[in-house]
Amino acid sequence: MIEFRKEFFANERDDDLNEIGKPTRRQDILGHVTGRSPFFDDHQFDGLLHLRCVRSPHHHARIRRVDASQAEKMPGVVRVLTGKDVPANLNTLLSLLDFGIDDEPILSDKKVAYRGEPVAAVIAATEAQARAAVKAVRVDWEVLPHVLDVEEAIKPGAPKVLDIYPNNKFVYHGKYDHQKLRFGDVEAAFASADHIVEGRYQMSPIEQAPIETCGAIAAPEQNGRYVCYTSTQALFFSLGTAAKVLQTPSSKLHFVGGTVGGGFGGKVDSIHEPLAILGAMLTGRPVKYAWDREEEMQVGAPRGAERWYIKDAVNRDGRITARKFIGYFDSGAYTRLSSYAIIKGVGHLPGPYTIPNVYADVYCVYTNRTPATAMRGFGITGVDFAIETHMDKVAETVGLNPIELRILNSYRDGDMKAHRREAKNCALVECCQVVAEKAGVTLSAEAKAATSMTGGGGERARIPNYTATDQNGRVEGFDTGSYARKGGGTSPVSASAPPNPQPARAPQPASPPPSAKTPEQAPPRSGPPPQPPGARPAASRSGAMRFSSLAGFRRR
């Protein structure tokens, strides 16, 4: 039951809303209750082929050889794809926003960095035939040492998960191996504190577990176009990713989505669309690529694990004067969205509390675990768990009721936040008061009288006169302006940078529909040629720059 407390902030509201506070019907509900909502797998195609991946049984291994000769002869098998069939077999999801270096093969051909990583894809007439043929693909592995813990992964000598990022840490802004937050001087505050409260907090990965597993069906359309029905929860993200990976103009791709059988963040990674379309391009037939439940759980990217160390300086009265974070996000084997999750998370520190000195070093760490991705408030929920558990620990230390401690330290309107933005429309004090009332907790007269609208600003609105800064974690050799490789590779310039592996070749459509095995003889693609290595991107970067303030590239 929703309860509206209209007495709060009444003068900030008109209360003339048409929808909020009243029951409403979803626009798609009739389709849902009649079983007619068109999920991607509800579209029928004659001659549908099924694609399934050959996956690594190892956490970390070099691929010496992939032998599909037996599999190709098996009943129903139309084609076996490997990395060399993928036009641009390296991508990072956020490259569409110019954030991060391409790090993840679509079908890995040199090494695998997590268990379940795909190294080949079998396309067959039935799912059972595809499964049988997957088992017949022989991969010659050279097993490598692996690392599954974030703090083990950043120790000297740890197995190297990715070649491009030093010491298994993502590089932020081309400068640092972690995302920094510096506000005031925490060490000075620790030196004069009545109490120091320290804690270590950890969250495991969480699978989104949608009831509909992720998947896509692609089929040739007329005029050299391909239609793709997909479970994606980010249709244009998937479209852009497919266009990049397939080196095909997005105008050739007709994406149909919007009916998603549960996403929760697990359907943004655009894994299925490129391979399903590639299969349709190379066979001329409709191709379905969908995970079964086991794959959804094993290789579907979860919310990543996080580990946080928090240290607070606390006055005897419960006022927190400094908070220091050291955070480790477990990105798994590839970046996906973890780099961005940290940007978001650090902007959220130190939680909804006015603390005059804040420090954070947050690392995006690569391990040989399943890559992590989005899930419901990712980047925030993990550290919020740490912060709020820590608040209880602080309350216990100073002998205050935990609700009272939160009211004492809450943002008030007009306060300066650690990322140097003014706090507005605060409401935590009022929420705490209602929680206390519901829980039967008696608050002090002072806490009862507190409001978010009073007591803020003034001295609390100031950016500290002195902020301690440092060059810790400085990384050399990365381009600070743009992560974009754009077919050319502008960064990193370090010696360990891998050569650009992209063949400048698109899979060949399809007019007239090709037979199953013709792509090698197909004519060159008609799109613009890829840029020569080393070229700066010529296209306007307005889209990337618009988002770049998010990533902190824009000078303030």
């Binding site: 029951p23 019907r25 979803r26 798609d28 509900i29 009739l30 389709g31 849902h32 209750v33 009649t34 079983g35 007619r36 909502s37 999920f39 797998d41 509800d42 029928q44 059972a128 989104q208 577990a209 949608p210 009831i211 509909e212 597993t213 009916t259 998603v260 059988g261 549960g262 996403g263 929760f264 079964d292 439940r293």
Partner: protein, 157 residues
């Protein structure tokens, strides 16, 4: 790899189709017969998205061989309106008992089977009846409320 003819009743209509060797009822209904309302969620009988009624009993169609329904009556969510919407469908709409909608057909079949054998179930009986149907969106409460609304005669269809 012989195909087997299957004669059965689907939502009151006599149907005949060939089942592939070893094909499960879920695939048979979806690919062979064209009823897309049962959904694949796990393929191992844990999620309930493929729930159908066979001769009035709820069954997980991913675990039933297609040929096993020869001569039997199968009901799915797409057959619930007859022809007007089933009160359960109306109640699900009114109570916001579906978000993504993927578990909904299986959930409705379980709820219909419950009300057919027990028109006035308690809350506990409702919870028991849908305990084999996983939903990741709603948290179940709105679904329980929708089913109880029908049981208590608060929904007109």
């Amino acid at each position: 790899m012989a195909k087997k003819p299957v004669n059965f009743t689907l939502n009151g209509d006599a149907r005949a189709a060939f089942a592939e060797d070893g094909q499960n009822l879920l695939e048979f209904l979806r690919r062979g017969v064209g009823d897309m309302s049962p959904k694949y969620g796990c393929g191992q009988g844990t999620c309930g998205a493929c729930t159908v009624m066979i001769d009035g009993e709820t069954q997980l169609s991913c675990l039933v061989l297609a040929e096993a329904v020869d001569g039997k009556e199968v009901r799915t969510a797409s057959g619930l309106p007859s022809p007007a919407l089933d009160p359960l469908q109306v109640a699900f709409m009114e109570n916001f008992a579906a978000q993504c909608g993927y578990c909904t057909p299986g959930m409705l079949v379980s709820a219909r089977a419950l009300l057919d054998r027990n028109p006035r179930p308690s809350r506990e009986e409702v919870i028991e009846a849908i305990s084999g149907n996983l939903c990741r969106c709603t948290g179940y409460e709105t679904i329980i409320q929708a089913i109880l609304a029908v049981a208590e005669g608060r929904v007109r269809a």
